[in-house]
């Protein structure tokens, strides 16, 4: 035992805010808990049988008292609720300049992929001071990415994409845990998050094994899996073109409109008949089971890149 854990390191912008709430709750709980304990023990001792305490004027109900402590409890509860909820709502709104990393959980390891295609296992390198969004998915069962030093946790659920974001405030190496029980080696599904100075991070990112970027790999898959046969610029099949789609509203055959985000692109590959674009026949086959989470991420990255360019890169 080299040290005794008392208080986890605060290494993200969120951590001190969550801890403020924690210590406020701790003070409140101990305050109320000790008050009640003293009251219970105090009454027990003061009114023990045979004591000289004054017992006149006792009553066994007091509606005003009941209403007042009910109201006080309700107001305290409402206050804590609002505090916790307000902080929680930040989760949905990562800053626009965030770095995007995709994270995949599988029994029993974490795989991370950076935008330039650099992959790492059970380690995640991130720059200091820049917001990072990790898009999570799972190859098998539910996992949960948990970085105590960031006070951040999110489940990785098979069949859907979830995300978490954080902004590291302190360079160093921190524990990364799987927090959702995922089978035999659940407790071995651990790793580290390494927070680096931005210039070191840039160096690290560039120095990795030279692989193609996610977009380039996605482009290769786009051809390899036959997507380009219908969606490519020279295709003759009547299928929607994908240039300029990402990030824009798409009109559906049901005359509803949906925003083409990561989730929509993903769904359209796996369950193409779910949300068909208006004016097209539902002829695309499902790629469910034919494509790994890993490759799916690359395809989405490629289609995303088409959205920004407005033309084939």
């Amino acid at each position: 035992m080299d040290s005794i854990a008392l208080h986890p390191i605060e290494a993200s912008t969120l951590a001190p805010q969550v801890d403020l709430l924690f210590y406020a709750l701790l003070a409140f709980s101990f305050g109320l808990g000790i008050f009640l304990t003293v009251l219970v023990l105090g009454y027990a001792i003061k009114y023990r049988r045979g004591s000289k305490a004054d017992r006149s004027g006792e009553r066994s109900r007091n509606t005003i008292l009941e209403v007042s402590w009910t109201t006080a409890t309700a107001l305290m509860a409402l206050g804590i609720f609002l505090w916790g909820a307000e902080l929680f709502l930040q989760r949905d709104h990562p800053p626009p300049d965030s770095l995007h990393i995709s994270g995949i959980g599988k029994q029993w390891m974490w795989i991370f992929e950076h935008e330039n295609g650099r992959r790492e296992i059970d380690e995640l390198h991130v720059p200091l001071g820049q917001p990072v969004v990790v898009s999570l998915s799972s190859e098998d069962v539910i996992h949960s990415m948990f970085v105590p030093a960031f006070r951040m946790k999110m489940d990785a659920v098979p069949g859907r994409q979830t995300q978490l974001w954080f902004q590291a405030t302190r360079a160093g190496t921190y524990d990364l845990f799987c927090a959702e029980y995922c089978g035999t080696q659940h407790s071995e599904m651990r790793g580290h998050v390494v927070v680096m100075e931005p210039q070191d991070f840039a160096k690290w990112l560039a120095s990795g094994p030279t692989v193609e970027s996610l977009v380039q790999q996605g482009q290769a898959l786009f051809r390899g899996l036959g997507c380009s046969g219908c969606h490519g610029p020279s295709a003759t099949v009547h299928a929607p073109k994908l240039e300029g789609v990402y990030g824009h509203p798409v009109g559906l055959a049901t005359s509803q409109t949906v925003n083409a985000d990561d989730g929509y692109i993903r769904d359209s590959i796996l369950q193409p008949k779910k949300q068909v674009v208006g004016g097209f026949d539902p002829i695309m086959p499902s790629y469910q089971g034919l494509i790994t989470e890993d490759d799916l991420g690359k395809l989405v990255a490629y289609i995303k890149s088409l959205g920004n360019s407005g033309g084939t890169p």
Partner: protein, 543 residues
């Protein structure tokens, strides 16, 4: 009210016989309570043994005592056995079974044969689930989360799920029996607001049992269907959804938490007034808050899923509702506390257990505020903080209340007294052992140690060692009653009909009661807690 003790000698419910068939074919609710009590104690010690092995493994950071698969099976066994074979039936099936008809002035429950059937169904389900877990092993955790349980574990999952499915019917049978009994078999004059709070809490519990358990049954069947027929309801590759399982599971399992704690609240509501010689403070508020808890308990299940991928706004709504349920729980605590005020307090064993319950329930409940607060839960969920929180409620609260109730009604159930001295020592020992075991787990959780970890980083060891040491003290506290209560069964002094001078109807019949409970049907003319201060403590103007 007539005092039954003055009536001529009658046979006790033990009189009809001690042959095996006198027990196994009985329809007497008091004997069935004993059938349940002996089975539940066996399961409690099986679950406890699993917990002991878990704490032994966690003594060091490495996995040096069991393999990871064994460890996973051990915490699954601990969870399944403790939740379904002990906590859910604990107080209702034992003390509730024994006392409900007595407290209502009835001869038996409304459906005596259904009552016996419920025990057989319970034992059948328990035997199947236990066999599945011991023979082959079940490593899904008691929560059976999909797709781990549907696609990635052994075949025993289906068998264990069927076992738990069967146990559910036993729960429903008990619930229906209690509801009908409370409605139809109250003694003349026994209006709703003359019912002891224990009856109120059993009634609230029964409603939850009847309404929530079918959802568990459906959920478990879907797991079996997914595994056996591959219907894919929880499989995303077939258009299913793993989160659907969590919604269904917690729709049952959160109300089930209140099945586990409400009867405990009822027990201490009987004991605190008795040993304070004061009526229960705010009786109606305590009664209504039980119903409030039962109702709100159905609307908070999503607070188990704040980081599951459930929508953020659903999380906000569930967090709000979870804070709402804190209110009726707090009301109870305040009323219990004030019950002692200006009383004449004595410290019998069951009172010490009840005071212990109060302390542990308060701190366990306050820890719940941390988990209901959204941003805080993101950090704390699935860590040891959660383990500590629910053990404070389930063990510190419910098991302590169970022991309080067993000691309080022991003279009525057996006709024997036990050693108060040993009783007090056991009560204090388990209180200290409990805190030593579980308080360190709050700190572990805040520092980020995830639950269900077979191995862990070194910095968590100190608190784990402390927790494991505490478990030894706690185990000692739980084993002690076996000895002095066992001794009292055979050698204890004969118990008077009302050793504590308590006011409930159950104390007006003999100890132990006759087969039909009362020599003549009692008539109720006043509320349940007509306690008066003893002579020496009466204020001067009353003397």
């Amino acid at each position: 009210m007539t005092i039954a003790a003055e009536l001529p000698e009658r046979g006790s419910y033990f009189a009809p016989g001690w042959r095996l068939r006198d027990w196994l074919l009985t329809t007497d609710h008091k004997r069935i309570a004993w059938l349940y009590l002996s089975s539940l104690l066996t399961f409690f010690f099986i679950g406890g043994a699993a917990a002991t092995l878990i704490r032994l493994e966690l003594f060091t950071p490495a996995g040096d005592f069991m393999t990871d698969d064994t460890y996973n099976r051990m915490f699954t066994l601990h969870g399944v056995v403790m939740v379904w074979f002990f906590l859910i039936p604990s107080i209702p099936a034992t003390l509730g079974n024994f006392l409900l008809p007595l407290m209502l002035g009835a001869k038996d429950l409304a459906f005596p044969r259904l009552n016996l059937a419920s025990w057989y169904v319970f034992m059948l389900g328990a035997a199947i689930a236990l066999w599945a877990m011991l023979a082959g092993g079940l490593d899904t955790g008691w929560t059976f989360y999909t797709p781990l349980s549907t696609m990635f574990t052994t075949d025993n999952t289906s068998i264990a799920a069927v076992g738990v499915f069967i146990i559910g019917f036993s729960t429903i049978m008990t619930g229906i029996n209690f509801i009908v009994t409370t409605h139809k078999l109250r003694a003349p004059g026994q209006t709703w607001f003359r019912l002891p709070i224990f009856v109120w809490t059993l009634y609230a519990t029964s409603l939850v049992m009847v309404l929530a358990t079918p959802v568990l049954a459906a959920t478990l069947l879907l797991i079996v269907a997914d595994r056996v027929f591959g219907i894919g309801i929880f499989d995303p590759a077939q258009g299913g959804d793993p989160l659907l399982f969590q919604h269904l599971f917690w729709f049952y399992s959160h109300p089930a938490v209140y099945i586990m704690i409400l009867p405990g609240m009822g027990v201490v509501s009987e004991i605190l007034p008795c040993f304070s010689r004061r009526p229960l403070f705010g009786y109606k508020f305590v009664a209504y808050s039980s119903m409030g808890i039962a109702l709100l308990g159905f609307m908070v299940w999503g607070h188990h899923m704040f980081v599951s991928g459930q929508s953020t706004y659903a999380g906000v709504v569930f967090s709000f509702l979870s804070f709402c349920i804190a209110v009726p729980s707090a009301i109870k605590v305040f009323n219990w506390t004030l019950t002692m005020r200006k009383g004449s307090v004595t410290f019998e064993t069951s009172m010490i257990y009840s005071l212990g319950f109060l302390g542990l329930f308060v701190f366990g409940g306050l820890a719940g505020l941390f988990l209901a607060a959204l941003a805080e839960d993101v950090h704390l969920t699935d860590t040891y903080f959660v383990i500590a929180h629910f053990h404070y409620i389930m063990v510190g609260g419910m098991v302590t209340a169970f022991l309080a109730g067993i000691h309080f009604w022991w003279p009525k159930m057996t006709g024997r007294m036990y050693s108060e001295r040993w009783g007090r020592i056991a009560a204090v020992t388990s209180f200290l052992g409990f805190n030593l075991t579980f308080f360190p787990q709050f700190i572990l959780g805040f520092n980020g140690m995830p639950r269900r970890y077979h191995t862990y980083p070194d910095e968590f060891q100190a608190w784990n060692v402390l927790s494991s040491a505490g478990a030894v003290v706690l185990a000692l506290g739980y084993v002690m009653p076996l000895f002095y209560l066992g001794y009292s069964l055979f050698k204890g002094p004969k118990a008077p009909d009302n050793p504590w001078g308590a006011t409930g109807l159950e104390w007006q019949t003999s100890s132990p009661p006759p087969k039909d409970n009362f020599a003549e049907p009692p008539v109720v003319t006043e509320g349940p807690y007509k306690y008066e201060l003893p002579e020496i403590d009466r204020p001067v103007d009353h003397k």
